[in-house]
Symmetry: C2
Amino acid sequence: MKKHNFSAGPAILPAPVLKEAGKAAVNYQGMGLSLLELSHRGPEFTAIIEEANALMKEIIGLPEGYQTLWLSGGASTQFFMAPMNLLNAGETAAYADTGTWANKAIKEAKGFGNVQVVASSKEQNYNFIPKGYKIPRDAKYLHLTSNNTIFGTQLHKFPKSPVPIVCDMSSDFLSRPFDPTQFGLIYAGAQKNLGPAGVTVVIVREDLLGTVQRHLPSMLDYRTFIQENSLYNTPPVFPIYVSLLTLRWIKKNGGLKGMQRRNRTKAAVLYQEIDRNPLFKGTTAVEDRSLMNVCFVMEEKYASLEKEFLKETEANGMVGLKGHRSVGGFRASIYNAMPKSSVQALADLMADFAKRKM
Amino acid sequence: MKKHNFSAGPAILPAPVLKEAGKAAVNYQGMGLSLLELSHRGPEFTAIIEEANALMKEIIGLPEGYQTLWLSGGASTQFFMAPMNLLNAGETAAYADTGTWANKAIKEAKGFGNVQVVASSKEQNYNFIPKGYKIPRDAKYLHLTSNNTIFGTQLHKFPKSPVPIVCDMSSDFLSRPFDPTQFGLIYAGAQKNLGPAGVTVVIVREDLLGTVQRHLPSMLDYRTFIQENSLYNTPPVFPIYVSLLTLRWIKKNGGLKGMQRRNRTKAAVLYQEIDRNPLFKGTTAVEDRSLMNVCFVMEEKYASLEKEFLKETEANGMVGLKGHRSVGGFRASIYNAMPKSSVQALADLMADFAKRKM
């Protein structure tokens, strides 16, 4: 029986993608070789990465001047690699502190220049997205985290910024349309909406590169990946292939608008149940609720029922619903690939549980 | 029909490993979830990485004080990360220049300290392994490349070194027994003998770390990976799992001694044919011939037959035999997983081709 996978990441991928990935790992396109043992310089992988780049450009609507790069090391590597490539010692970058990952990005950036934290929701355990803050015109860039996986908040409207935005989109990448021209650099670990762990997408406005003075090792210089079409060294072949399969699936299912419709519908099912159900409550400001990670707890007086409810979800084939220790309670991660039926199953169980317990 | 895969890397993996990997990508251990969508913090992946570490320790015979780390970014990332972690500005590291990859390691190390090239075979197009060179006692380490994938040479005996050896073992890792205590740090991209592209193994003598003064981003500090058991951030889950499957296969097939026997037998079949066959000749010093990458060309007067022979290999289901442009001719990569039958098929074709052409 296929499980309902609510994991925060690595997370659910579309069922046809997984099926195709499994076939490729044994015999790629019937050629008598596994994709895992094919040269990254051969015609098969060249076709894969070229199609992935073209689809990324088409699906997002990337204008000229933006490059898609396939790296590894996760968003955690981008936390330092972005400032290393964009920020000279002595220059300042503005950061919004909206959660655990934003906080790590801030910590790593401090190794390379001045960091000005222009907004923070830390005092309220990151349960909202700060708005209306001032963005200094002399900052090199503004760093944002578009979706906060742990706390269940999401930036529904990017601020107007006088400086290029550098954005960690790991946990809501390709979940909705966005205007790429606001961004100088976008990065996303694949393991939420795009593919398996092991590949990180970077989309960069090429004209921002080449302005830092420090020594950059070849593998830490975005220009290396631009010049070599992400093939300076052996890239993570299989994770890139699975990402391509997901890109095809996104295109087939209405592109980013289609994803947004799916995601809005699914999130509505769950948030409506949370708001309606007397046992549960959401943990974040309503206007900042994430369409990807739905965080909720039990009302104080029912808190003793949390373990029991978690057990029931597991007994009903639902996995990954335990909330992160920073928030407690429950977290339902309902990325692009999550079918509405799984979300409905959870909402139904919540309703049924309340009926039995009230 | 399964092809004979002579690719230099990503390269052949054991058939049972590929079969198991394909199953895991669809439904891991019948649990109703793909390994690609499982949390790296869950019990399944915890078991995978713990078994992989234990098997690595057992198979190599790692003594206390050595740690196995699972990173990404390939050997190309280790080219700078090793000196970044081991070499202070102003200190000197000794490097042996034995091929293209050694050369890149030298280039990247220069960004972090003084590099003294203590030996080089560059003048003779890297067709031998320099020996008997002096290793300065005040060097922080000696960097070696144990097998030169492009040129087909291999270090059959590591030099006695007064300083710890840092070794790029990417293309002959786990192909033979070795004494780990000579080494301060070993690194290997998985995509030759261990797994698919996307994971890099580092084995490090822990007491060498923490002596550099420079700022190290968390993701570039080996100590981060030691402290967090390679789980500081989301690791490349699937490539690590496939590596575990290969480690199990190595253990089952006699460990490193078993691999060495297999590899010696296979290489002998091919080198004997090269030496016997009037059309072909090896490109390297005989005593430095690699058991992993067998490089050969046609004798000058038959050079016009190269294309025809390459076509015949392809017609016989053999892929990846075209030599690297730096050497020309042919390169048969015959890593651990390559069956003797494939090597025999190539040797037989060479013999048959000569019979027809002479």
